[in-house]
Symmetry: C2
Subunit: 832 residues, 2 copies
């Protein structure tokens, strides 16, 4: 109608039309401008910082409420010790059980710290279900309850995960507006910034947060991401502290655990040996903590009867552990010897206190405030109490962090470190009551400074980071002890790194996440290992002349994510690599129902012609054929709506039979989910078809299939990665490691003048590195079992895999080579 | 004799022999153990830290002495103002002239900051003569004199360079003991640590040093290098400060510019807008500084007459600039309005002072100390003096940092920033004399805090770093202003980064160092540029069937560092790449004297046989032939001692002639040093041979050469890089940039299913990135001219190049395509 109007040439219409066009143009332009702005990094980062600050503040508020409630209950029941004990114990048991149950039901991925998984994700591996809204809810609720229980748990690791979840959800949300957030490398950049925000708004420590997140999650860090982290973390920390001011908790923006050490003479040069001792002892302590933590996990899993029992009653283990810990810390009971009534925060405040507890030899004239009073016991010395506190909290923390609730280990370790530092500091103060420096002015020793040093050193040792020093500066608001802290942290790191992996790497190994271990420092022998020493020489490849049968065989062997494409088996010139899914689709398409139907139709046409020529057709038979055709056509149309999925494939039974007899030493991909999925589907489909069809039809189709399989592959529709990463035989392990970590590679082909001679995957590299390392991980559970156990898609695929396994065993009698099993499961990890 | 002894079986001998073997074994083992220990990183880092701390301390000591001497002279001559002026002015002029002259004579590479060059070196580019002992001496002596002159120059950038020099020299020194320091990637890791040490021991700021060096020098940072930096920088800072304690300068280890701001209430929330204003203004100021600095360099170089004059009298420019600056800061003259008598350090101390200068409205009851007194002028307001100080120092610093002496821009900018912050702080204090917070207790405003914020913000803006915040914390020993500082630094960075490159990137562009520019933030269009848009499609390649003539032609075209090897011109399947030097060696070897001599000998033998058969030989002629042979044999043996160098090559004149007539549109590699070197050598050699030989011989050899050139290349002895980095047409610019920076690539081939279709080099990438950027560098001097002008090897090769040029022009009359010239010079940069 518009064209009609315009052909009649009416000027009013013309003007209106133009105005309309212009206004639409303007509106579109404005909208596009706004959209493009929405896509900008800084808006995203501000939003992220804001959201995380709010989350952090609200969570802190709720945790404080929960802790207060426990104290209130405990205080209100002071008439009856048994009631008091029951209240003291039941409260955390209920909270932890709820946390564990909630986490388990909503999103089991939310359990634990989250830093190991973020490290893996930032390495480029996609962990399923790890960055969803469900996980966010589970993590936030679970963490609040867990911390509200008063158990020695931390919130730092989970906060890294929560911030990443926030970032991922924000990305999704903002991609409704702008299209920029689809870029994968950008997403990873944003996740890296989110990790910094997580630590930053947890401790109100933007600089320490950025550095800690870099140290903990990255191998190679893009400096251009640096400002993102700083920007978002600073904004987040700022809002977090401003909220506290608005809430009248604070007068102005200050540090979380503000200290008031003197500025003029923070410490004497002669005190440095004591600080060094703290560092070295913390190094050993940190390694011991990691070892103990792993030992507990290992023990719980090795004991099959316990394990079975616990698997059935999932909430029993958390409840028992909580019961044990709260019983021991019951203030009127054993808790009186370890300041059981203090929360983590109160404990830290008392440790960082400016005054010396032992100065006047425990006399009464020392003006105790409420927190410090907990360390004063009529029967026991303050040293004894500190030692008991350290020992008890040590194993309690190591035990508590194995619970299946969202929790971190940083804060408990930090507290233990502070206690140890305080112990050394108090000892020094008792030893030199007048201070060390005797040149006139007396500067007494400040045990609080020792506590700060100890906290930084022990947390640094457990996490293998140096930036705990910066976190400590920001937490206390004082930097006067910078040199002692740096010295202690570096010494602690040196000791701990040579004894044990970091707590996060330990968890990565326990969970068998697909992560490349670090090259340890000073391992010079690594410079002498070459790629040719570790590469797999028996590479699966397809050539330009490959038939569909070759493709099929490659798919059956199938522990590879990608397959190499070479020019020919003689020249072996590497042309590129093809994804497994591509091959599968190609094969499925070639033997597709459409093509088979075409064949059947052609055959039917030919037969009908033959029949019509030779004899009169039985009308019944003809009708059946037509029915068949109609039914198939409908289903074909249906399947054409979902062309991307490998749906409606041709039965592959003959091919399966052939290969299983031909290849004796075959590997069954027991756990490759996509693979088994397809084949199970094929198999079921095939059985259905078998039942529906007369025997003769099936045999003809078998023949047709055999024919089709011997055809050469058509290359036009292939999606080939023409530049897979290539190494040379002489490339050193060191360089290979660098390249793999830099580019986040999964595998690389080894070529010699363009000829493919081998392949190196993450697995070989990991083996090579771990083989030359003294520290070894433990192999307890199957990889990613914690995710697969309860993931919805995981469970179904596993049951299907077993089904296929049975079928397979019935049809063939091949032996499964056991040593190849971890191989298949490794590729499973990668494909997840 | 030993075997004799043992066969006679004497038990004493046996025992002694065994003991000897054992002891030798032990000794060897011990020595090996020690050697292996010597190679360890931590020993290296401790040595590096120790040496740098000593260097820093001694330099600081000398600089303080020099500055004191000036003050002493100035103070001693207070009877006569003219004498006083002469002393005040002559002293820095002499020092700066000496510094410039010394640097120019010993090692011109030592001039300037050093950070831009270190950034380039850490990028993987080898800059000649940049890490030698000579440069070290020049830098240390030059820097001491330059800073001793009292000009607004910094020591931070040069310290990065000095530390790198130290590390490189230590590496060399330690490679006498262990063999590990030959690894190139290791060297770069050590240099990265050295940069951290440089900043760390300059400011006694280990954490800030590590972060600053990362931000300033790296694009992608290996987190495993992190501990190295921290370890060495902490150790260095520790020793540096301990030396001060031992020297009785300090009572204990404290910060360099210790502040004493109150801890309870460092600032009010309502003061934050003022801090934000400081940040934004500093951003503009920083950009202006970078622009001004570049403008001065540009102006000095554009003015040809000035330039020529200055080139002749190299010391005149520094002397004139110094004269101008010292005249203006002469205390009894204009210097009284800008606190001219204070050194940089004193100025900073007065800015960071706790007290408010304007509190009582400039009344006398304020207790001025010596430094603050400089800001009090009977006629002028403190605000006026501060404004004059800022404006004057701003252009003075921008001018002074262009001097050809070792100097940095960080410290002057830091001082200006502190002055600006102080100005804002004093204004605030004057505006709100009772402080902003009116809820009962009065907290007055602390202008010193503003000065700290301003210093961090302006230095952050000029260098485009966030870690200046951390440096400030460590310098002042207080972290209470963390949030204002972070906010100001981030805002300053945001403004400055969107206006101008950092001072270091600006210098990189001015000096045309081969560095890849950063992708700016928020440039989304970069995600849409593909490799196919920027790649060069006309790739030079050789095939498996190439003749030596093809090789020769490729070498003549020669602006490439490496040449692609493809299977054949039809298939274009990329097999690898070959270095230019390899090709040259191959060609030289094929047409070598040995092979030619063999040919001559064969020919001579054949002739002799023919002669002896046909006619009687003249004895004289036969003797001459034998002599010839003997002489040639000797020279052959000589040359066999140096098989690696392309020495004693065959004359290539006929080949040169042929190609020059065949290829009209040829490019002459005017500045490729290795190339011209070889050819000049060939040419001279050829002329010598021509004179020594009869004409007939030469013609025969020419024939033989023609024959040889048409032979196919023998591939067995080639050293091929079989895995050059490959990209795909669809690779985005963003990803390409990442890969190039991650791997330090120089070029990458673009392939499509194994077929070579293009090449991308650093140059194309740089163009593509800069083409889409608004901020552009200046192109004033030929690349690396500052290094080439005076380098010993550089000069000789340049003169040779001209020589060759003349020869070439005489023989051929080809036109040189002008637009290809930057191309050749670019490859020159890379090959240096």
């Amino acid at each position: 109608s518009v064209t009609q109007n315009r052909t009649r040439y009416s000027p009013e219409y013309e003007v209106m039309y133009n105005a309309l066009t212009l206004s639409v143009f303007c509106a579109v332009h404005c909208q596009r401008f706004l959209m493009s702005r929405v896509g900008e990094d800084w808006i995203f980062l501000i939003l992220l910082g804001l959201v995380m600050a709010l989350v952090s503040f609200v969570m802190d508020f709720c945790i404080a409420l929960l802790l207060q409630a426990q104290k209130w209950m405990y205080g209100g029941l002071d008439s009856n010790v048994i009631l008091q004990y029951l209240a003291w114990v039941t409260y955390p048991v209920v909270l932890i059980s709820f946390s564990a149950g909630f986490t388990h039901i909503v999103a089991p991925q939310a359990a634990g710290s989250g830093i190991p998984e973020m490290k893996t994700i930032l390495r480029g591996v996609v962990l399923k279900e790890y960055l969803t809204l469900k996980t966010f809810v589970a993590k936030v609720v679970g963490l609040t309850c867990a911390l509200g229980s008063g158990l020695p748990l931390g919130k730092e690791g989970p906060f890294v995960h929560i911030a990443s979840l926030c970032a991922a959800l924000l990305c999704k949300f903002m991609s409704f507006f702008g299209g920029i957030y689809e870029n994968e490398s950008r997403n990873i950049e944003m996740l890296a910034a989110a990790c910094a925000v997580g630590v930053g708004c947890c401790f109100a420590a933007p600089i320490g947060g950025v550095l800690f997140s870099i140290e903990v999650t990255s191998t190679f860090f893009a400096v251009r991401n640096y400002w993102r982290g700083f920007f978002a973390a600073t904004f987040s920390a700022f809002i977090f502290r401003v909220l506290a001011v608005w809430n009248r908790d604070e007068e102005t923006i200050t540090a979380l655990f503000k200290t008031r050490f003197r500025l003029d003479f923070p410490f004497d040069l002669q005190e440095l040996p004591a600080f060094a001792v703290i560092g070295i002892a913390s190094g050993f302590g940190g390694a011991l903590f990691v070892y103990l933590n792993r030992l507990i996990v290992q023990f719980m899993r090795k004991q099959k009867t316990i394990n079975k029992f616990l698997m059935k009653k999932r909430l029993l283990y958390p409840a028992l552990v909580t019961l044990l810990i709260s019983t021991l810390s019951f203030p009127p009971g054993f808790g009186q010897f370890m300041a059981g009534q203090l929360t983590q925060k109160e404990t830290l405040v008392s440790f960082f206190d400016n005054r010396t507890w032992t100065k006047q030899g425990m006399t009464e004239d020392f003006n105790y405030d409420s927190h410090s009073a907990a360390w004063k016991h009529p029967q026991a010395n303050v040293f004894v109490i500190l030692v008991i506190f350290i020992v008890m909290k040590f194993w309690m923390s190591a035990l508590a962090t194995t619970l299946p609730v969202p929790c971190g280990a940083f804060m408990p370790v930090f507290v233990i470190g502070a206690a140890f530092g305080r112990l050394v500091g108090e000892s020094m103060a008792a030893w030199f009551p007048e201070g060390i420096n005797t040149d006139g002015i007396i500067y007494p020793i400040v045990p609080g400074g020792y506590a700060v040093v100890g906290a930084a050193a022990l947390s640094g040792a457990v996490t293998h980071t140096v930036s705990t020093a910066v976190i400590v500066f920001e937490l206390t608001g004082q930097i006067s002890h910078i040199l002692p802290i740096m010295i202690a942290v570096i010494l602690a790191n040196a000791v701990a790194q040579s004894l044990q992996p970091s707590i996060y790497d330990s968890i990565i190994r326990i969970k068998k996440l697909p992560y490349l271990p670090e090259l340890g420092w000073g391992h010079h022998e690594k410079y002498n290992i070459r790629v040719e020493d570790i590469m797999v020489r028996d590479v699966r490849y397809i050539t330009l002349n490959s038939t569909y049968r070759d493709l099929h065989e490659i798919l059956l062997i199938g522990n590879l994510k990608t397959v190499a494409l070479v020019e020919s088996a003689e020249s072996m010139i590497l042309l590129g690599s093809i994804e497994r899914a591509q091959l599968q689709a190609l094969l499925t398409q070639h033997l597709s129902r459409e093509r088979r139907l075409e064949f059947i139709r052609d055959r039917a046409d030919a037969e009908r012609k033959r029949v019509s020529v030779v004899s009169t057709p039985s009308s019944e038979e003809g009708g059946q054929k037509v029915n068949h055709e109609v039914r198939f056509q409908i289903s074909t149309e249906e399947s054409s709506f979902t062309p991307a999925r490998p749906i409606s494939p041709k039965p592959l039974k003959p091919a399966l039979k052939r290969t299983s007899t031909a290849e004796k030493n075959i590997e069954i991909p027991t756990s490759n989910i996509t693979h088994t999925h397809t084949f199970t589907y094929l198999w079921k489909h095939f059985k259905n078809l078998l039942c529906a069809r007369p025997q003769t039809d099936a045999m003809e189709i078998e023949e047709w299939e055999e024919q089709q399989l011997d055809e050469q592959v058509n290359f036009n529709s292939w999606k080939i990665d023409p530049a897979p990463f290539q190494l040379v035989e002489r490339t050193s392990l060191h360089k290979t490691h660098t390249i793999f970590s830099l580019l986040g590679l999964d595998h690389a082909y080894v070529t010699s003048i363009g000829r493919l001679i081998g392949v190196v995957s993450l697995r070989e590299l990991r083996k090579a590195i771990e083989g030359s390392m003294t520290v070894k991980g433990v192999k307890v559970r199957p990889p990613l079992a914690s995710f697969r156990d309860s993931g919805t898609s995981g469970t179904s695929s596993e049951s299907e895999a077993t089904e296929l396994h049975k079928l397979w065993d019935r049809h063939t009698s091949i032996s499964i080579p056991r040593e190849h099993q971890p191989n298949t499961s490794d590729s499973d990890e990668k494909s997840q």
